[in-house]
Every structure is written in structure tokens, then in C-alpha cells.
């Protein structure tokens, strides 16, 4: 007997052509009105949006899957279980020390004054991060920070090591696109402003070099 429940669409969101983070925003709003067992279909036109939606689902413990329907047409289906399960956990969870540390890297340099010095300091910063115990939970990379996770980055090895040790490396998709780095992401995954704000808001501590 097949116990896998057939997923039938009950709510459909057409986010084709919508810029980041609109697909996630629309999906988040729709999820608020969903009941257990309801299915949400979101149609988007780029892989970044798919990744962002799958991440949203994962953050909320919602089973989700995606498929490419056609060129520039992707479908993400989510089946609502118990809503906002992880959020409730977060609210009641005891303080976990530095395990909830989030590092936000916003540029290619550390500090201002000399770019040359700042680049060197940032390299040292990432090395020092690899030595930190416990490690950060998430490293957010946005604006010029997006260069850090792209091919040719001087700290790529550090980021790969951190990812291998369980740190989430999240790079702003808009920033990757702006700097034409979308195809050069070499570590971690793509995120959006909605997720960045949520990560920052839920962090116990945020440091920014």
C-alpha cells in the first residue's frame, strides 16, 4: 500500500517575472492562511527563486519539492504540515551561547581607511573565523561581500572549510546578479533579502567585520 499522499494543488501563486524577494514574500503570506494538508504551488521563472522557496520551506519544516516545467518556468510545491513549527521552537528554545552567532560580511574589505589594508584584514578575519569555537551558525555575504563566495575569492578555502564543518554560507542573490557573479558562486547557496532579514533578526549575536 502506498502511504505517500498525493499532492494536489489547492493554492496557486504565479510569481513568474517577479523580482527577488517577491516570490518568497508572496509565498510567506500564502502560508499564513494555509491549513495542515493544504498544498501550495508556486510558479517562478528562475532557479534562484526555486532555491529561496525551498529554503523557506526547509526553515519551516514544510515538505517541498521542485521541478522544471519548461525553459524559465519552475514549479515549487509545498505541502503544509504544522505551521511555523520551527518558529515556535525558536521562541521557547533556551539560549545556546555563541552557537547562534551570525556573521554578516558586507564588503570586500574590513573597515574603512585603506582598501589594501582592509582586504588583508578581511582575509585574516576569515582565517580567524575558522579558529573560532564554537563556529558561527550562518555567514551572510551581501553587497561586496558576495565576492567572498565567488570563484577567485581569496577566502574561498576558509569558507569551504567552514561549510564542511556545518556553517551555512549564504550569499545575496541580488548582489551576485548585480556583480555578474551568479554563475561563479563557489561555496554555499543563494539567499534573498527576506531570508537575510529573518536570519539577522533571529540571531543571538551578529558580528560584521
Amino acid at each position: 500500500m502506498n502511504h505517500e499522499r498525493e499532492i494536489m494543488p489547492t493554492i496557486r501563486i504565479d510569481a513568474m517575472g517577479e523580482p527577488c524577494p517577491q516570490p518568497v514574500v508572496k509565498t510567506t503570506r500564502a502560508l499564513q492562511d494555509m491549513r495542515e494538508g493544504d498544498v501550495l504551488e508556486v510558479h517562478v521563472d528562475n532557479e534562484t527563486a526555486v532555491e529561496n522557496l525551498l529554503r523557506l520551506a526547509d526553515n519551516r519544516n514544510i515538505p517541498a519539492r521542485s521541478k522544471k516545467v519548461a525553459e524559465r518556468h519552475y514549479l515549487v510545491a509545498m505541502q503544509c504540515t504544522v505551521p511555523h513549527e520551527k518558529e515556535e521552537e525558536t521562541e521557547t528554545a533556551p539560549a545556546a551561547g555563541r552557537g547562534d552567532l551570525v556573521v554578516a560580511v558586507t564588503g570586500r574589505t574590513m573597515g574603512t581607511g585603506s582598501d589594501e589594508l582592509g582586504e588583508m584584514l578581511l582575509k585574516g578575519f576569515f582565517f580567524a573565523l575558522t579558529q573560532l569555537e564554537p563556529l558561527p551558525k550562518v555567514i551572510l555575504l551581501y553587497n561586496g561581500g558576495a565576492f567572498m563566495s565567488a570563484e577567485g575569492s581569496p577566502v574561498l578555502d576558509d569558507l569551504k572549510q567552514l561549510e564542511a564543518r556545518g556553517v551555512d554560507i549564504l550569499t545575496c542573490g541580488t548582489c551576485l546578479e548585480f556583480f555578474a557573479l551568479k554563475d561563479k558562486l563557489a561555496v554555499g547557496s543563494v539567499t534573498n533579502m527576506y531570508s537575510i532579514v529573518t536570519t539577522l533578526a533571529e540571531a543571538m549575536t551578529v558580528i560584521s567585520p
Partner: protein
């Protein structure tokens, strides 16, 4: 737990010297990288060159040549 490895640490008197060494290393394919000076080493400008321990001989020769403002060389588990 992260596994520590034996490294050769080169310290400099100024950050400018450290950056100049990084440039030199890049031009001559010297393995290693700039890192903050480990707390076990109190000397130096704050930034040092960290290389695999196998490079100790080559780095020692560079210090002896006295052209790259190397302050000191250490061996450390990092």
C-alpha cells in the same frame, strides 16, 4: 574538532612589510597565506605569513637574505 597542523610563521615589523611579502610570495609561487599573528607569538605587526612547515628552509633563506623585512620565523601548531 579541527585538526592542527605544523606551520611555519613569518612575522614582520609592519603591515606594509607583510603585504609586500604576500606580493613577493605570489610572484614566486611560495605556498602560504597571511593570517593574524597567533596569540602564541607576541612579536610582530599583527599580520604574519603562515606556510606549511616544509617551507621552513626556504623561508629561513629569505630571512637570511635580509631583503624582505622579515622580523622572525616560528614553528607552531595551528
Amino acid at each position: 574538532m579541527r585538526e592542527k597542523t605544523l606551520c611555519t610563521i613569518v612575522t614582520f615589523l609592519t603591515p606594509t612589510d607583510a603585504m609586500a611579502f604576500e606580493c613577493f610570495a605570489g610572484q614566486h609561487d611560495l605556498p602560504g597565506r597571511l593570517i593574524p599573528v597567533p596569540s602564541a607569538v607576541s612579536a610582530g605587526c599583527g599580520i604574519c605569513w603562515c606556510a606549511p612547515h616544509e617551507e621552513a628552509g626556504a623561508l629561513g633563506a629569505l630571512k637570511a637574505a635580509n631583503t624582505l623585512a622579515i622580523e622572525a620565523i616560528y614553528t607552531l601548531l595551528i
